[in-house]
């Protein structure tokens, strides 16, 4: 081998150098040429965009008919740019204008393009197609089973996108099943689920009755992880549907005194306190102030400050001696909500310490800076 290299080294290296030199020239020229071509393409697209933007705006405001706009579209580039313009406009339109805009998305070349995406094996392409259908006002019902089947995909993004389309177009049963599939898919994050719930809220009635009932049903099923159940509870809380308060109260009361999940208990305490359900006070005073879980005691301290019940005062004072700073902090903050409480006159052990003055300072600061 060494002999061979010794004999032929120069030729080998020369060939390599020639190859690399040619290659580098090709890459150099290719880069410049591609930029030149891209600039030309950009220029052409800019012109089309300018022309189409004006037409689309005329169309959505009712000054141009659908047929007239359609007659202006011919090439693939026209449709691609039309999609981009629609995406940008969609966020800023509502009512009749939004409906008109969405009609554009249903033009056959655009629809066929996305239907074609379903035939690919790439889950991301399928997800994009699902999201396209999620943006439509109406879709053919025959396509729903296919979209529905993706909700149980192991690819979180496809499952998410499919569920989004089902929320918009599916029946109540399909919506329930799609959300269930997402809830049991550990690859789907709480935030992605939260996005689905927000869309669900948009699609439902103003009072959030339908989605609240669905969420209650999921919680009552007790089929999901603690983390997911806590998310369902918090989402229910954000919907502000007051009839759900009684349901959540019964869930709270059914928590086992000894073996409750701290994540679920915290979520229930936070939401019920926000609803002003003073029925939880007894349990807060007796069970949860002495919880072994720091986050539960912290939530309890926060919740007691929302009720400002006179009975809670000695309990909050007791929580101010907790081993965890944030429990002490929120207990003190809650006590400071009582108009008759002077924080410097509580006569608690440790009140002379630097930490206590730091705590009072932080409460004052947090109220001033609203954090």
């Amino acid at each position: 081998m060494i002999d061979y290299l010794n004999t032929h080294a120069e030729q080998i290296v020369l060939i390599v150098v020639i190859f690399l030199a040619i290659f580098s020239i090709i890459v150099f020229v290719g880069a410049i040429y591609s930029r030149w071509m891209l600039n030309l393409k950009d220029k052409k697209e800019r012109e089309i965009r300018e022309r189409l933007s004006g037409l689309v705006i005329q169309y959505v405001s009712g000054d141009l008919s659908f047929e007239d706009l359609k007659s202006e579209l011919s090439t693939e580039t026209d449709y691609s740019i039309l999609m981009q313009i629609s995406n940008q406009l969609e966020k800023n339109l509502e009512g009749e204008e939004e409906i008109r805009l969405k009609r554009l998305l249903n033009l056959p070349p655009i629809r066929n393009f996305f239907i074609g995406r379903f035939e690919t094996k790439d889950p991301l392409e399928r997800a994009k197609a699902c999201l396209y259908f999620a943006r439509q006002n109406k879709i053919k019902k025959s396509i729903l089973p296919k979209i529905m089947s993706y909700s149980s995909s192991k690819y979180p993004m496809l499952a998410y996108a499919s569920c989004m389309a089902i929320i918009v177009h599916g029946s109540t049963r399909q919506q329930r099943e799609a959300i269930h599939n997402l809830l049991i898919n550990e690859g789907v994050s709480d935030q992605a689920l939260n996005d689905i719930f927000k869309e669900f809220q948009v699609q439902s009635s103003e009072e959030s009755e339908v989605e609240s009932h669905l969420l209650m049903r999921f919680i009552a099923d007790k089929a999901y992880s603690d983390r997911r159940t806590a998310l369902l509870i918090r989402t229910l809380g954000e919907l502000n549907f007051y009839q759900s308060a009684a349901f959540l109260l019964s869930e709270f009361e059914s928590l086992s005194e000894d073996h409750y999940s701290p994540v679920i208990a915290t979520a229930l305490i936070d939401v019920l306190a926000q609803f002003g359900m003073s029925e939880i006070l007894d349990d807060l005073h007796t069970i949860y102030t002495s919880s072994e879980h720091r986050e539960v005691r912290e939530s309890t301290a926060k919740a007691l400050g929302l009720f400002t019940d006179p009975v809670s005062k000695p309990i909050l004072k007791w929580l101010m001696l907790d081993r965890d700073f944030y429990v002490r902090f929120y207990a003190a903050k809650s006590l400071s909500n009582y108009p008759d409480v002077q924080m410097n006159e509580l006569n608690l052990p440790g009140m002379e310490s630097d930490e206590y003055s730091e705590l009072l300072g932080e409460i004052e600061t947090s109220k001033e800076l609203e954090y």
Binding site: L5, V13, L14, F28, K128, P156, L359, E362, T365
Partner: protein, 468 residues
């Protein structure tokens, strides 16, 4: 003499094969980074996050920006942080015992006042002297502490922060307004994500308005232009390629988002290293692999932060020396991971790559030049061979650099003007003639300094790009 000649030939052959291996590795990385970039762009278009500004159920972020003698750019970079588009975030600037007027400028400009804020000692740090808050900007906090270097400042910031995620940035960097939303995507897409890195681009030469990049241009100086090419290469095909293999070992200290609890669980940033950013990422990998928990460390090629790069050769030399020491230190600390089946691709792919290609390359490159000259003078190889070999090595380096510019063209195309692209390509050629050899020398010196136990940071001077 014959024995020496044979040894020299063998060394030359070994260097040749090393050279082939290194470049083959880089070309492989380029191919996979292209695939990964396309995939990542598709992924980012999936999640709509329609509820982001309506609900508090999304993860919140604390931005941690350590500052040491940053008076030239601290106000502008802080203003830019205040303009970010994100529902729930706080900015924690950590003044790490600056000797200049960094703190005074902040206090005067943002009308800061001392506040009481409980700081749990989750991670041990140098003493915090005071925390400042602003009535005008309730999400801005400034921590004034004793000097303890960057890692210590970041740890203090972690202690002060109260959000789910922490975003570590250099105070001389400028984040694009939607960057946090883009970074959050990785945590939304995969709940097991513990860290995400984004792209750092060179800000020198760009125009800025109201804390945003208004015009992307290449730097004016030679040294800045070369670094612009280097950054493209490092981020667009280096880290993106490693993300494809799920084996990312570095998230730049200038821009990365981490799960706060995970960072606290592994003990925060390490104090006695100059490569704290890489070390933390490797430690996170090790921690989760040891525990057998599912986790992801990601790199996203779309979120961009702009950073001011050194404009003087001496500052750049010190920076590269430090980076090399940091790399050596991290690989040494975590040597148990090397070729260890427990760490999968990290142990068998990423760690050996960083050892043989990134760490040892200056020794081999400079050694190669040296051996080539010796061989030539001893008559082991002739002048034609020596020159051809050198030309091949340099040409291949040029192609790799140009490919990174081409990759930028095919994906993000942040440089609008054809002139800028031509300049970048030109400098992709030129950096291989002289700069590459000087760079190898700095890194070689970095290795020597590492063995000497040098852990100094070195002074970094800022010219205040963002304030111009």
């Amino acid at each position: 003499m014959e024995v020496l000649a044979t040894i020299l030939v063998v060394i030359n052959v070994l260097i040749f094969f090393y050279f082939v291996f290194v470049n083959f590795s880089y070309i492989t990385l380029i191919i996979f980074s292209y695939i990964q970039t396309k995939r990542s762009k598709k992924e980012s278009s999936i999640f709509q996050l329609s509820g982001l500004f309506d609900t508090r159920l999304y993860k919140s972020i604390s931005i941690l920006a350590p500052a040491y003698n940053e008076e030239a750019s601290i106000i502008e970079s802080t203003e830019a942080l205040l303009h970010l588009e994100f529902a729930d975030y706080e900015i924690i600037l950590i003044n790490d015992g600056s000797k200049d007027s960094t703190l005074e400028k902040l206090i005067n400009h943002f009308k800061l006042k001392k506040i009481d804020r409980y700081i749990p000692k989750s991670i041990e740090t140098e003493p915090v002297k005071a925390v400042y808050g602003s009535h005008r900007y309730p999400n801005l906090f400034v921590v004034d502490k004793e000097n303890g270097r960057k890692a210590d400042a970041l740890n203090a910031g972690i202690n002060v922060s109260r959000k789910d995620l922490i975003c570590a940035v250099d105070s001389d960097t400028l984040l694009e307004p939607t960057v946090l939303q883009q970074m959050l995507m990785a945590f939304v897409a995969d709940p097991t994500t513990v860290a995400v890195g984004g792209v750092v681009r060179v800000a020198n030469g760009c125009k800025f308005e109201l804390g945003e990049v208004s015009e992307v241009k290449v730097p004016k100086s030679t040294i800045g232009r070369i670094q612009a090419v280097e950054y493209l290469r490092a981020f667009l095909f280096g880290r993106t390629g490693w993300d494809y293999f799920d084996s990312l070992l570095i998230i730049s200290g200038a821009f990365g988002v981490f799960d706060r609890e995970s960072v606290i669980n592994v003990g925060g940033y390490l104090h006695d290293t100059v490569g704290e950013d890489m070390e933390l990422v490797v430690r996170l990998h090790r921690h989760y692999r040891d525990k057998g928990d599912k986790y992801r460390v990601r790199f996203l090629p779309e979120p961009v932060c702009w950073t001011e790069v050194p404009e003087s050769w001496s500052t750049l030399g010190r920076q590269r020396n430090r980076w090399q020491r940091g790399l050596a230190d991290t690989l040494w600390r975590h040597r148990k991971m090397m070729l260890n089946p427990k760490y999968g691709r990290l142990g068998f792919l990423a760690m050996p790559f960083f050892l043989f290609v990134e760490l040892l390359s200056p020794i081999i490159e400079l050694g190669g030049y040296f051996i080539l000259i010796i061989s030539f003078f001893l008559g082991v190889i002739n002048v034609q061979f020596a020159l051809l070999f050198l030309t091949a090595a340099i040409l291949l380096g040029m192609i790799l650099s140009i490919l990174s510019v081409l990759m930028e063209e095919l994906t993000f195309r942040r440089y609008d003007r054809m002139r800028d692209v031509a300049i970048l390509i030109l400098y992709a050629f030129l950096e291989n003639l002289g700069y590459r050899q000087i760079h190898a020398w700095w890194r070689f010196r970095g290795l020597i300094d590492f063995f000497k136990g040098n852990k100094s940071w070195g002074e970094m001077t800022r010219s205040g790009t963002f304030s111009r």
